[in-house]
């Protein structure tokens, strides 16, 4: 018969509880920074269009902390001037080539966000 004895689990639970309670505000801060980076890149990519000079200013970012998740929404706001052109510019049309701003900005941020979140997780669990 094999007997396994686990000790220190109460301390581990306390440490994980503590990490969990600090996670939401800290993850929100990381996601906010990531969203700002994506927005900045996106605005830069769309700045200076002669045919849509206000489009870059229509790019906004919002971060929502929901139960169990943090969500960032970044993109052209259709309620803002020329914001409705966003889809047409990002993906192009049958007559016009795309001028992607969102996709490359997101792709550039992805590894940075991944690193920041994994460093944060290490810090939270490590105490």
């Amino acid at each position: 018969m094999i007997e396994i004895r686990v000790t220190g689990d109460a301390e581990l639970i306390a440490q994980l509880d503590s990490a969990l309670s600090r996670a939401v505000p800290e993850v929100t801060a990381v996601v906010e920074q990531g969203a700002t980076n994506v927005k900045t890149d996106w605005v830069r990519a769309w700045s200076g269009f002669r045919h849509a000079p206000k489009l870059a200013a229509a790019v906004t970012s919002d971060v929502y902390a929901l139960p169990g998740s943090v969500r960032a929404e970044i993109g052209p706001d259709k309620g803002k001037r020329q914001g409705a052109l966003g889809n047409l510019v990002e993906f192009g049309s049958i007559n016009n080539p795309p001028h992607p701003g969102g996709l490359p900005a997101l792709q550039a941020e992805e590894p940075r966000l991944e690193t920041a979140l994994s460093e944060l997780a290490e810090r939270l669990i490590g105490g």
């Binding site: 993906f91 192009g92 049309s93 049958i94 007559n95 080539p97 795309p98 992607p100 996709l103 490359p104 792709q107 550039a108 590894p111």
Partner: protein, 133 residues
Amino acid sequence: MADLIDRQLLDAGLTLLRADPALVVYPDVEGQVPATPEPPYVRVYGAVGRPPGPGNALDGLSRQLTARWWCHCVGTTEPAALAVAMRVRVALLDARINGGMVRQEVGDQPPVRDETTGVPVYDVVAVYRLISY
């Protein structure tokens, strides 16, 4: 003038599409796009980038190439445009090019009515991406 490797990557995607005899692909093999093409067809825009990424990490050189194909799948009706989008997906999705696999980056979007050519058509946009080293 684009790098030869860029041209080859983009052409590889177009060749996969052109392998479907039921699919009319623009630009055609000569790189031409008619002024008023007759649907159904797929109008493809391609670009290759060298973004920072994990593939560049070891020696700092920009070895990672990202090729994208923006596919405008056009039909005279919504179902016709969606049918073109399905053929495009079958041709490109998970295809292997230069050691990488083509992925769908932005899924088929709902058909959008487009009247810019004078004839109303429906356009379904899908974006495919290949990361190659």
